[in-house]
């Protein structure tokens, strides 16, 4: 079955520390993977995508994600978290218009 999983409902980090939001996927063929962020009472905003090419993808607001085919993962990362990064993050599989359940990121001052 084709699916996306975000195993953590919430991730808590201190400002200035690195953050990781996890995503794993299952798909037949090559995956098209996306990360979106949702701030309160707003629609989703695009952060970055992997279609093909380099496994390390750089996106908006200093975020990056690493595509790992052997582990079927596409984890979102940022070297130094900001309080303003606190939001709901969704991983998406473009091929099937499937999104994960979302991970709430809380960055404490």
């Amino acid at each position: 079955a084709q699916s996306v999983a975000q195993p953590e409902d919430q991730v808590n980090v201190a400002e200035g520390n690195p953050l990781t939001v996890k995503c794993t996927y299952s798909v037949s063929g090559n995956p098209y993977l996306f990360w979106y962020v949702q701030y309160p009472n707003r629609g989703l905003q695009f952060l970055l995508k992997y279609i093909t090419g380099d496994n390390l993808v750089k996106g908006s607001y200093g975020f990056e994600a690493e595509f790992n085919k052997s582990q079927t993962s596409f984890h979102l990362k940022k070297p130094s978290a900001l309080v303003s990064d606190s939001a709901l993050y969704f991983c998406g599989l473009g091929n099937k218009l499937i999104f994960g359940s979302g991970t709430r990121l809380l960055v404490r001052p």
């Binding site: 629609g43 969704f90 994960g100």
Partner: protein, 116 residues
Amino acid sequence: GAGVSQSPSNKVTEKGKDVELRCDPISGHTALYWYRQSLGQGLEFLIYFQGNSAPDKSGLPSDRFSAERTGGSVSTLTIQRTQQEDSAVYLCASSLESQAGKNIQYFGAGTRLSVL
């Protein structure tokens, strides 16, 4: 230019009533998507339109749900005989031609539907 616009932003209705939710996509975007976001849940795909092709309705949860896209632009999602479990935020997105899911989707702010 303007982003994806959805109206109304909030809708409160009584159980059993019909509701219509509207989406104005970004001009020139040929693909349009509807999703549902329930409290504590992720995004659930409902339906998508790509140009003049037949829409992909595979995500619609029941025959009470339907959607139209007139003239390749504005879309209306209709829910008939609303039930309390229909309460959710309904999100619309648009993108340049779908290209098998490669393109970035631009989302509206959503319509929050509350069924009493």
